[in-house]
Amino acid sequence: MKIIGRKSSSNVQKVLWALAEMGVSYDREDAGREFGVVDTDAYGTLNPNRRVPTLVDGDFVLWESNAIVRHLAREHGQGMLYPSDARTLASAEKWMDWQLTTLGPGFTNIFHGLVRDPPEKRNQEAIEKSRAATESNLEIVDAQLAKTAWLAGDDFTMGDIPAGIYAYRWYAFEGIERKTLPNLERWYAALQERPAFREYVMVGLG
């Protein structure tokens, strides 16, 4: 099995974190941003959307990071990353989808503004709007975590993976205003105790 995509991508990190949680071995090839590759014909044949990551497992090719995580968890993480109870499973999937529809899009401008743009080129208004949106989205996560230990219930599942990556990035920004969110902080502390999270997610912002 091969994962194609740079380790610094939040979407690639979802897959690498999940694989490490399950102890599955794989090969990885860099692609995206400074590594290029995604514009080649060969990559476009595998992944016409030309983003990272792409999973290649024999003759099976899959892209879209959350779909890859669910596929791998179904194959290798039944009852662990992949909940066996149908409702716990759906709740985990809900938080994964919500990262795609809401948490991720809200976060784009603060991340690009603070991490990718040089200080003189920063659009402060867009950064602040994105910061406020992210804070408000994380309040939704905090409210869930006031009710359950992990996002989908009593146990760590794949549903914690996408939002977990954003939590790292949120707390790694320097000098931004952050509301105190005690449940989010408790959950984030628990994530930091996981070796797979430390190795694949807590790797700086790039």
Binding site: R74, E93, W98
Partner: protein, 206 residues
């Protein structure tokens, strides 16, 4: 009985209504959001802190995020091939669902708003045409998949056809120029033969 909350003109609510039609599943429906309002009220936010539609209530279980709701209903009340048993087919089906969230929806929204929700006199024709071209490039990715398989994930209709099926309806009925995508057209013709699609999706745009 299952309850679905959300206006039936919403593409995201239509995913769930269409799935219920495929399953022959009875439900109670309440129009919320858009002109009906209600989605910013405390009683709604208590069940869906994200404040969007749809939300489904199945006994004591509450779920939101439309694609997760669609998959949950298929898993609970349906069977293969609607909810694919083969892991690779399921992975592919889920990939097209996620891709609708990450890529197709952001491409469709500016065209939809420009042509459906903006009065003709107020339309920015150049912006709409630029957005339409981007949308068409995404439709081309769907068409290329459908050159290889009858439905998006393989030989059979699955939950993976639902989100992009709704996009296809909008592509074909919006008042605009359309490039010819023969595979998309063939697949769309199959969808239009499904009663559940006719009932839930083939309605005036609003």
């Amino acid at each position: 009985m299952l309850t679905i909350k959300g206006r039936d003109t919403s593409s995201n609510v239509q995913k769930v209504l269409w799935m219920c039609g495929e399953l022959g599943l009875p439900f109670e429906h309440e129009n919320i959001g858009g002109p009906f309002g209600g989605n910013d009220q405390p009683d709604y936010l208590a069940i869906n802190p994200n404040g969007r539609v749809p939300t489904i209530i199945d006994g004591d279980y509450i779920l939101w995020e439309s694609n997760s709701c669609t998959r949950y209903l298929a898993a609970q009340y349906g069977s293969d091939p609607l909810c694919p048993a083969d892991p690779k087919i399921r992975g592919n089906a889920e990939r097209w669902m996620d891709w609708q969230l990450t890529t197709m929806s952001p491409a469709l929204v500016p065209v939809f708003w420009g042509l459906v929700r903006t009065a003709p006199a107020d339309r920015d024709k150049d912006a709409i045409e630029a957005a339409r071209k981007k949308l068409s490039a995404m439709i081309a990715i769907v068409d290329a998949q459908l050159a290889r398989t009858t439905y998006l994930a393989g030989d059979d209709f699955t939950f993976g056809d639902i989100p992009l099926g709704i996009t296809a309806y909008r592509w074909f009925v919006m008042d605009m120029e359309r490039e010819d995508y023969p595979n998309l057209k063939r697949w769309y013709a199959l969808l239009t033969e499904r009663k559940a699609f006719q009932d839930a999706v083939m309605n005036p745009l609003a």
